[in-house]
């Protein structure tokens, strides 16, 4: 007993030690035992042997490490790589299949990671950008719980008294026409208080920013250019400083050029002008500005909110003359809802991005499983060779080195190709990605992306090398017997591949469910009735300079003349002008005053106000539900048309027709307009909005109201019977006939606007569809590969069965049954995982719950059918075997 155990324990010694002295030691120990030693003789011997073994192994490892430093290890590695490369070249099918799979999956993962990192993870490109907050508000009393902007009165209060704000600025954006520098062009400008540079901590690359007191009326008007407009319009000329330019025909002096890449608040802003810092004479109403601030040291979003809420309570005492301040508090329940700038910028897409990243991560796992499977198949084909090598003294380590060398080459090549795929994909995305995707221009392959790519490749190489090693390695004799007989299905081996098949099926289920849910969201979205018919409709913006169109009346006259000309153009069937078209976002809003209702009652909900020419409703195909819309002759009559949502909010129990209303809280003056009709709701911000906003339309030519609605900056809505963009040149010519200094801006089709506003969903759907289809393909190929390999290995067994009278149907059944277990397990696991994964998708889905039964059922059936087909083909082949040739195949 003692001696046998001792012999076993000798196995613990390093191999060369054991080979050299093992026999002698056994003999020695036995001889000493015969001398009759102490009672615990063997125990002592065992313990000492274990200690020696550990010491010697430690020494051997240290020595090896030292040798590697000298470079021998590297030479060994290079030799292994060279051999591996030769082996890979000799197996082109395996190599190409692996490389394709790896490069696609790695490429997709790297590309999406690049997007996620640059858009969601990276801080915004401003110094200490984590301290930047947007000063937004909520007016829960009138149904707006968040996202309400700021008034100049509030801003002045915050800027002077909020201790949690280090600095703050207020701004407004809008288009202006630049003339005198090449063709007239419409530019997006931001009017901002001079504090913006301090808040964002940026300085012009050239020249200077606005002085603290800039923007006062009567002072010289100054402008700061973006890098882009400086390059495209001024040929990067440094002498641009001091030059006068015309914006809406008003002269401005260029005082600075911002650094490349700076764009605030939106990427399309190209020019900044100064907005005077509001003083204490500012009025508290009119949420017409956006506010941004920088948190002071130690302040948090919560402390900022507390601070601002306290200041809001002081509003009525600071502006005692304004009854409106009181009502904002009492009726509107005004409160501060500051949000981090980053949250507002990327928050809307962050969830989608993470889901996409998880998806490509799953696809990568699937690809890894597939290539691992190919490795397994190959390793089995090489069992005999490997067993011989082992018998000849190649250690387990040598075999591992071979696998590692192969997987290293494949992962490195796959990673390089994947990187190329990712570079191509991200530049494609930058050029053609959805416009509403924030920070798209910042997406690229940087060090952080490369680092992750390298980690993925290393991980992949290790994983692929380890999988074939996990198999039990039978002794030479056994392997050769197996190889000779080729009829055993080899339990452990089949089980390992069963697990792989199940994993592939499960991953495919998760991806397909994600894709299915997204597709259903998309279908749901495209079936929505937006309240208008976008087909064949062209929209563009036109801005009339106030210098030449000083009054609303002159602007309206111009629009009427132009509409007449456009209406006469070939292909144009209807033309109209509106102050704010559907999907253009939040129009001018104010509560509505109703004749006969007390002015000091609770403030009614905010209503979107639009000015439109009479033809607007017909042009967009907006249905009239009650009453009528304006007649052509009524463009200057005090009438109003309201939408269904407004009726629900203002006249739930009354007949809206004949009611008299006017914009603004009741104490604002203005003549009453009579409601003549009710139209259906139309989408305001996006086609995916879930509730309609109350809206009212006044005739464009009704110029009595001095509201914030401009008749100079309007949207033209034109319906054409020919492709809408085709009539654009004729329209442009018609515009220039009337006024050669005007610029058409943002010309697009309404269909395009509809698509853009649903881009978040369709973009996610397309990417998920690509991932899911890849998964489906990889899964099917994987199943087919495993089953057909099993069939090949069992050829002779099947031959015997057939020769003994088994019916082909039974053979098919036998083969199929074998795969069914793994596939079933994969299906169940996948469905459960998809349910868990689905919870993260809820926020990006639209009109479909993440537990949508139909999608799950469809995916399960689809995969079951596909798996059956993937098993059926090799099973049929097996059943069709000729018993004699099958047996001869030995």
């Amino acid at each position: 007993m003692g001696e046998r155990l001792y012999r076993r324990l000798l196995g613990l010694l390093p191999e060369d030690f054991r080979a050299d002295l093992g026999e002698a030691m056994t003999e020695h120990a036995a001889a000493r035992a015969r001398d009759g030693g102490a009672a615990l003789y063997w125990t002592r011997e065992y313990a000492s042997l274990v200690r020696v073994a550990l010491q010697e192994r430690w020494r051997a490892r240290r020595r090896n490490a030292r040798r590697t430093q000298v470079g021998e290890g590297m030479m060994d590695g290079l030799r292994e790589l060279r051999f591996a490369a030769r082996r890979l070249v000799r197996a082109p099918t395996f190599t190409i299949a692996s490389l394709l799979t790896l490069s696609l999956a790695l490429g997709a993962a790297i590309a999406i990671w690049a997007v996620v990192k640059n858009v969601v993870v990276d801080p915004l490109p401003y110094e200490s950008s984590a301290d930047l907050v947007l000063l937004e508000h909520g007016l829960p009393g009138v149904g707006a719980t968040s996202g309400v902007n700021i008034t100049d009165g509030l801003f002045a209060l915050y800027r002077d008294d909020a201790r949690t704000l280090e600095s703050a600025a207020m701004y407004q954006t809008g288009p202006r026409t630049l003339t005198g520098v090449g063709d007239p062009v419409s530019l997006q400008i931001a009017r901002t208080t001079p504090g913006l540079a301090r808040v964002l901590r940026v300085q012009p690359m050239l020249g200077r920013w606005f002085e603290a007191d800039a923007g006062r009326s009567g002072d010289a008007r100054e402008v700061v250019l973006s890098h882009g407009v400086w390059v495209s319009r001024f040929g990067s000329d440094p002498a641009v400083l001091g030059r006068a330019i015309l914006l809406d025909e008003t002269p401005y002096e260029v005082i600075g050029v911002m650094p490349r890449g700076f764009a605030f608040p939106e990427t399309d802003v190209q020019v900044w002008t100064a907005l005077e810092e509001p003083g204490t004479d500012a009025r508290p109403g009119g949420f017409n500005y956006s506010g941004i601030g920088r948190l002071s040291a130690g302040a948090t979003l919560a402390s900022l909110r507390t601070d601002l809420d306290a200041l809001i309570l002081r509003l009525p005492e600071v502006y005692p003359a304004e009854g409106f301040a009181r009502r904002l508090l009492d009726d509107g329940k005004l409160n501060a809802q500051p949000v981090f700038l980053k949250e507002r910028t990327v928050g809307s897409v962050a969830q989608t991005m993470w889901v996409l990243l998880a998806t490509v991560g799953l696809a990568l796992l699937l690809a890894a499983a597939n290539v691992a499977n190919l490795f397994l198949v190959r390793s089995e084909a090489r069992q005999t060779e490997l067993a011989v090598r082992r018998a000849l003294g190649a250690g387990r380590r040598g075999v591992a080195a071979q696998y590692l060398a192969e997987s290293t080459i494949l992962s490195a090549l796959g990673g390089a190709a994947g990187l190329a795929v990712a570079v191509a994909a991200t530049s494609l995305l930058r050029a053609h990605g959805p416009e509403r995707l924030p920070r798209l221009d910042e997406v690229g392959i940087d060090a952080g992306v490369l680092g992750v790519a390298a980690l993925l490749c290393v991980g992949m190489a290790l994983f692929l090398a380890v999988v074939p090693l996990l198999r039990r390695q039978p002794a030479l004799a056994r392997t050769i017997q197996d190889a000779g007989r080729r009829n055993s299905a080899g339990g452990a081996r089949v089980r390992a591949r069963g697990v792989l098949v199940a994993t592939q099926v499960a991953l495919a289920v998760v991806l397909l469910v994600a894709c299915g849910l997204m597709t259903r969201s998309f279908v749901h979205m495209s079936k929505l009735d937006h309240g208008f018919d976008a087909d064949g409709v062209l929209t563009f913006h036109l801005a009339l300079p106030s210098a030449r169109y000083p009054e609303n009346a002159s602007a309206v006259l111009f629009h009427e003349q132009l509409l007449e000309r456009i209406g006469g153009l070939p292909g144009v069937t209807a033309a109209s002008v509106v102050s704010c078209a559907p999907l253009e976002g939040w129009c001018y809003g104010d509560p509505l005053g109703v004749d006969g209702r007390p002015a000091d009652g609770p403030t009614p909900p905010v209503v979107m106000m639009r000015m439109a020419t009479p033809s607007f409703f017909a042009t967009l195909g907006i249905d009239v539900e009650e009453g009528r819309v304006f007649e052509d002759a009524e463009n200057a009559v005090p009438l109003a048309v309201v939408n269904r949502a407004l009726v629900d909010a203002y006249f739930p129990d009354e007949d809206p027709i004949g009611q008299r209303v006017r914009p603004g809280p009741a104490e604002y003056p203005g003549s009453w307009a009579t409601i003549v009709g009710v139209v259906e709701n139309t989408a305001t911000m996006s086609v995916t909005e879930t509730s309609a906003s109350p809206a009212i339309y006044f005739p464009l030519g009704f110029v009595d109201y001095e509201t914030g609605i401009s008749r100079r900056r309007v949207t033209y809505v034109i319906r054409a019977s020919t492709p809408p963009l085709g009539v654009l040149p004729a329209i442009r010519a018609a515009v220039h006939e009337l006024d050669a200094d005007l610029a058409l801006a943002d010309a697009t089709t309404l269909e395009r606007s509809v698509a853009d506003s649903g881009a978040r969903i369709s973009f996610a759907m397309v990417l998920l569809a690509i991932a899911a289809l890849t998964a489906l393909l990889l899964g099917a190929v994987g199943i087919y590969g495993v089953i057909s390999y099993t069939v090949t290995r069992r050829t002779s067994e099947i031959g015997v069965r057939l020769a003994l009278g088994a019916k082909p149907r039974e053979v098919v059944g036998m083969i199929v049954r074998q795969g069914t277990g793994a596939i079933g397990a994969g299906l169940v696991t996948g469905l459960v995982a998809a349910l868990a994964f689905g919870r993260f998708m809820d926020s990006i889905l639209f009109g479909v719950p993440s537990t949508d039964l139909a999608t799950y059922a469809a995916v399960a059936i689809l995969l079951a059918v596909l798996s059956a087909a993937a098993m059926w083909v090799p099973a049929r082949r097996a059943a069709g075997l000729d018993p004699v040739s099958a047996l001869r195949a030995e």
């Binding site: 030690f17 050299d20 002295l21 026999e23 002698a24 030691m25 056994t26 003999e27 020695h28 120990a29 001889a31 000493r32 002592r44 011997e45 000492s48 042997l49 200690r51 020696v52 073994a53 010491q55 010697e56």
Partner: protein, 110 residues
């Protein structure tokens, strides 16, 4: 490749000493060590062969052919090499120095 020669351990020293008379196999070496140390040292098989292997790696002992009378093929014989002799002498000298120091202080009888 002998490492920078540190003082030999008792076991290694006595192993070299045991081989002083000529080649011997492990069992004989073990017995000799036990006798020389008055039973103070009775190395286990593992410890003894570890010492032998390290001495061999250091070039102080070398495998030797079994003598003609040997019947058990499993036994392995070792002999001391010239560097081994020098190492043993150096160790003995070191030990003598240590003893001399004690004598000089009359801590140990002459």
């Amino acid at each position: 490749m002998p490492d920078a020669a540190p003082p030999l351990g008792d076991l290694a020293y006595l192993t070299l000493v045991a081989l002083g008379d000529g080649p011997a196999h492990g069992y004989a070496i073990g017995k000799e060590i036990e006798a020389r140390s008055d039973g103070r040292l009775d190395p286990t098989t593992g410890a003894l062969y570890q010492a032998l292997r390290r001495l061999a790696e250091a070039g102080l002992v070398a495998p030797a052919a079994a003598p003609r009378g040997e019947t058990d093929g499993r036994r392995k014989y070792f002999r001391i090499t010239a560097p081994g002799r020098r190492a043993a002498a150096a160790e003995a000298e070191r030990l003598e120095g240590l003893v001399a120091a004690a004598r000089a202080k009359r801590l140990y009888p002459t």
